[in-house]
Amino acid sequence: MAPASRDPTAVDRSGPGLFRRAIAQAGLLLLAAVVAAVVTAWFHPPPPEANAREITLAQTRTDFVGEKILWVDARPSAAFSQEHIPGAVWLSEEAWDTGLAGFVEAWTPGRPVIVYCGSTSCGASRSVARRLMRELSVTGVFYLHGGWQSWKEEPR
């Protein structure tokens, strides 16, 4: 008697077969996501690259001689209330609309803006700096390397 041949149309329902099926289905989902992402980016393109530059405290002393820097504190409100760079305005992502009025009041076109957060490990200064450039088209925006910590540690 001839051995029973395997039906080539049968679905492989073994563990590895099902796992391969899962990979194929996930691949299909990935492909669909790529198509959807491309369509979304087509209709809502990313904003023009608004890369705020990082600046050190030493550079602020040499690069802006005679200019009045507008310091923007992107730390939580409690930290700002406790202590901040003299003349700084508070603008954090958590309370963007609240802080924006103070920023708009203090800012004049052409005035350099330097955003700082707690320390090197925080990302808030970069986010706030980019948002200022992207949403308010503010130019000359920097974020301070080392943030508040570097300001505090600088010998005066």
Partner: protein, 142 residues
Amino acid sequence: MIRLLDLLARVILAALFLYAGIMKLRDPAGFAEELENYRLISGRVATSAGYLVPWLEILAAAALLTKPLRLGGWLASVALSAGFTAFVVSAWMRGLDISCGCFGSSDSTVGLTAAARAAGIFIVAAAGLRGEIGRQANRSQS
């Protein structure tokens, strides 16, 4: 009982992914910035991921609730949650004080809560995938 747990896990996970995906899709540029703040990927990759990840989450959620694509939905959930866990734990270990970006921009900061949440989702997704493969294999044998 197992069936009920499976249904519950799928519905909760699908709801989480759907919510997270929609929140991120509302502001892909903001989400891309949150990703870049992790300092693991370049700005260009983050911009692409800002569009791709939300759609993957939404499609994974839909697949979890669809019988023919359930296996793929579980695997996509495992992959997504593994990626999120790796990002959050890495940032937490490096002591970064950044927003998690888990449910769109400007949400909770990375830390124990965010890491535990991401790891929890990964465990549920991995268990769900294993269970689904086991169930489908058993069904074919019986």
